[in-house]
């Protein structure tokens, strides 16, 4: 991915040198031309076309923003409820991703979405121990969300 971006930047600069004019517009046109050429030759590279990965990152960001909004509203409901009838608890979540930064991103996302908190990553890095604010009704849906995040992160690093 880094090689493709570097190549694309070089192509944009070379395009400006060809045109002999150094406006930002020419850089943009050169970048787009390079993007199209790299897209045509995308099977030439070992990794996939890098725009797909950037789209996956944007997708992950948008899903994350939506989750933060929704779960903050859920926490607000619990805080404002007259009775505290929630049942906190800790559960283990088996994870399939292996790279360090993937686990880091996943646990940050889990922690930043309120209602859940990552307490520890197991030593073999295959399980996350998560503290949840309300276990009985949430655990199933939370697992669903975590699988969603995990799938999105895997999509980014693929």
């Amino acid at each position: 991915m880094a090689f493709q971006i570097l190549l694309n930047l070089c192509m944009a600069i070379i395009w400006m040198l060809f045109k002999n004019s150094y406006q930002p517009m020419d850089f943009f046109v050169g970048y787009m031309t390079g993007l199209i050429i790299i897209f045509i030759f995308r099977r030439f590279f070992d990794s996939r076309f890098y725009i797909y990965r950037i789209l996956a990152i944007v997708h992950l960001l948008l899903v994350f923003i939506r989750e933060v909004l929704l779960s903050n509203i859920a926490v607000l409901k619990i805080v404002l409820a007259p009775k505290l009838d929630m049942k906190p608890g800790i559960f283990a979540l088996p994870i399939g991703i292996t790279k360090d930064w993937e686990i880091y991103i996943l646990s940050c996302l889990i922690t930043l979405t309120p209602g859940t908190l990552v307490m520890k990553v197991s030593n073999d890095q295959k399980t996350l121990y998560i503290h949840a604010m309300d276990i009985p009704d949430i655990e199933e849906s939370i697992n669903g969300i975590k699988n969603g995040f995990e799938r999105l992160i895997r999509d980014v690093s693929r």
């Binding site: 192509m11 060809f18 943009f28 046109v29 390079g34 030759f41």
Partner: protein
């Protein structure tokens, strides 16, 4: 190995230069023919550095169809002038406002040139492939 790694970068610069000379054709030396030749030159470099199978993997197209598509472009732009009650091969041009690029001068001769470009790539690559595959 050195040739292959070098090809990975040089190929794109050659193609970028061919695209540049293709678009520069109206005001400066260049145009469809030299652009097409240079692009197929880049593809020949790919063929030399790797082999026929790699090229087929990277660009799974039949270059013979490229000739047909290019001729269609040329005939199409020429015949389109008939619909506007002007002689065959009359070209139109104008300044068009494009959202990001700003005011751009567009000319239908570019489409004709694109036809030339595709035909030149198609013919050159067909010749090279036919000779190369002959055992």
């Amino acid at each position: 190995m050195i040739l292959q790694v070098c090809t990975k970068v040089c190929l794109f610069i050659i193609i970028l230069f061919s695209v540049h000379s293709f678009f520069a054709g109206h005001y400066e030396p260049g145009g469809g023919f030299i652009g097409g030749l240079m692009t197929s030159g880049a593809l020949v470099l790919l063929l030399i550095a790797y082999d026929m199978k790699t090229l087929k993997n990277i660009l799974p197209i039949d270059f013979k169809y490229l000739i047909a598509v290019g001729l269609l472009f040329a005939v199409g732009t020429a015949a389109a002038s008939l619909f506007f009650n002007v002689p065959f091969l009359t070209h139109a041009f104008g300044d068009v406002q494009i959202p990001i690029l700003g005011e751009t001068a567009l000319h239908t001769a570019t489409l004709f040139d694109l036809g030339v470009y595709l035909v030149v790539i198609g013919v050159t690559m067909t010749i090279i492939q036919t000779i190369g595959e002959d055992e």
